[in-house]
């Protein structure tokens, strides 16, 4: 019996990372901007996305969405009311979306016919940050009801985000939301990140967000 050390130096999520790189190439060559929306359950990702899809369609943009949840197709049905093509991904207990699920659910869609593809991740601030879905823009969302220190509690996600969206800004006053502190905390974790303060109820902040999407797509 001989004992031997074998150097492996292998990424544990290598399979996901390779699939994600393949997806990224497909998105780029199709000219579609892909965004991955990540937040806790209840932040209002679906309401925010519903409004985004409607507003983009009103600007004649071609949009589609994939939405992840453990169970039910409730969110897909809500988003489909925008008129955009939507597919539900049920993970059946898995706490995040991975590149393989995305790849499978894109089947039959012509990416070249789309300007924007939104992926609404499973409500979870931890696990989705490990899984690259090939997206160009990772969006971390945070509602005013969750507390200003969320970015400090979940630095992994906020530090990997390209944009941050504060939702339910119409409830800021009744919730005693300390806006300055929230902005400061986000900036401590991800200095210089673009931050959008939005309300799906009043439409606040949406124009700025839509302009940002157009700029990112044009890049």
């Amino acid at each position: 019996m001989t004992t031997r050390i074998v150097e492996l130096r292998r990424g544990i999520l290598k399979k996901n990372d390779e699939l994600a790189a393949g997806l990224r190439n497909r998105y780029t060559s199709a000219g579609v901007l892909v965004l991955n929306l990540v937040s806790s359950p209840g932040t209002g990702k679906t309401a925010f996305l519903e409004l985004t899809l409607k507003a983009l369609r009103a600007r004649n943009a071609r949009v589609a969405a994939l939405v992840g949840d453990l169970e039910t197709d409730n969110d897909a049905r809500r988003l489909a009311s925008s008129g955009a093509p939507v597919r539900q991904i049920n993970t059946h207990g898995i706490c995040h979306l991975d590149a393989e699920m995305i790849d499978k659910h894109l089947d039959g869609w012509q990416l070249g016919d789309l300007d924007y593809l939104f992926i609404e991740n499973v409500g979870n601030l931890v696990c989705p940050s490990s899984y690259d879905l090939g997206e160009r823009v990772r969006v971390a969302l945070l509602s005013v009801t969750e507390g200003e220190d969320k970015p400090l509690k979940y630095p992994t996600l906020f530090n990997s985000a390209d944009a941050a969206v504060i939702t339910k800004i119409d409830l800021a006053v009744p919730c005693g939301f300390d806006r300055e502190l929230a902005l400061k905390n986000i900036n401590e974790i991800r200095p210089g990140i673009r931050i959008f303060e939005t309300s799906a109820k009043t439409g606040a902040g949406m124009e700025e967000w839509l302009d940002y999407l157009a700029q990112e797509r044009a890049r």
Partner: protein, 120 residues
């Protein structure tokens, strides 16, 4: 709690790499895990025992080396370690830091195996 899927990938990767060493038994698996990799060591250890049952990794030890977050500070022109994950600022000059050099690793560094001697 995605540690179980992570551990399952470890089992698959290690099992694949054992093809070159028929009959070998795994004694130890060493990981390099960045402090921002979203992985909890306790959960990994808990899942490891379950996921390695009835595999060539059964009974092996999982060693998790946590790597600190290292960012490049432009004004200082140096790589600096971020000790508190509550603030991504250079500990020397206080400027915000954006360029990550280490901290998201999630990899199998090496395995220690007992090889079976070739029968002559």
């Amino acid at each position: 709690m995605h540690e179980l899927s992570i551990v399952s990938s470890i089992v698959d990767t290690v099992t694949e790499s054992l093809a070159a060493y028929p009959g070998a038994k795994v004694k130890e698996v060493r990981l390099r895990v960045g402090a921002l990799a979203s992985v909890i060591e306790d959960s990994l250890q808990f899942c490891y025992g379950i996921a390695t049952e009835d595999t060539p990794l059964a009974g092996s030890v999982l060693v998790v080396n946590i790597l600190p977050v290292v960012m490049h500070c432009e004004p200082c022109g140096a790589d600096v370690e971020i000790v508190s994950l509550q603030s991504f600022r250079c500990p020397k000059c206080g400027e915000p830091v954006l360029d990550m050099r280490q901290g998201r690793e999630l990899e199998i560094e090496s395995i220690e195996i007992d090889e079976v001697e070739e029968q002559v």
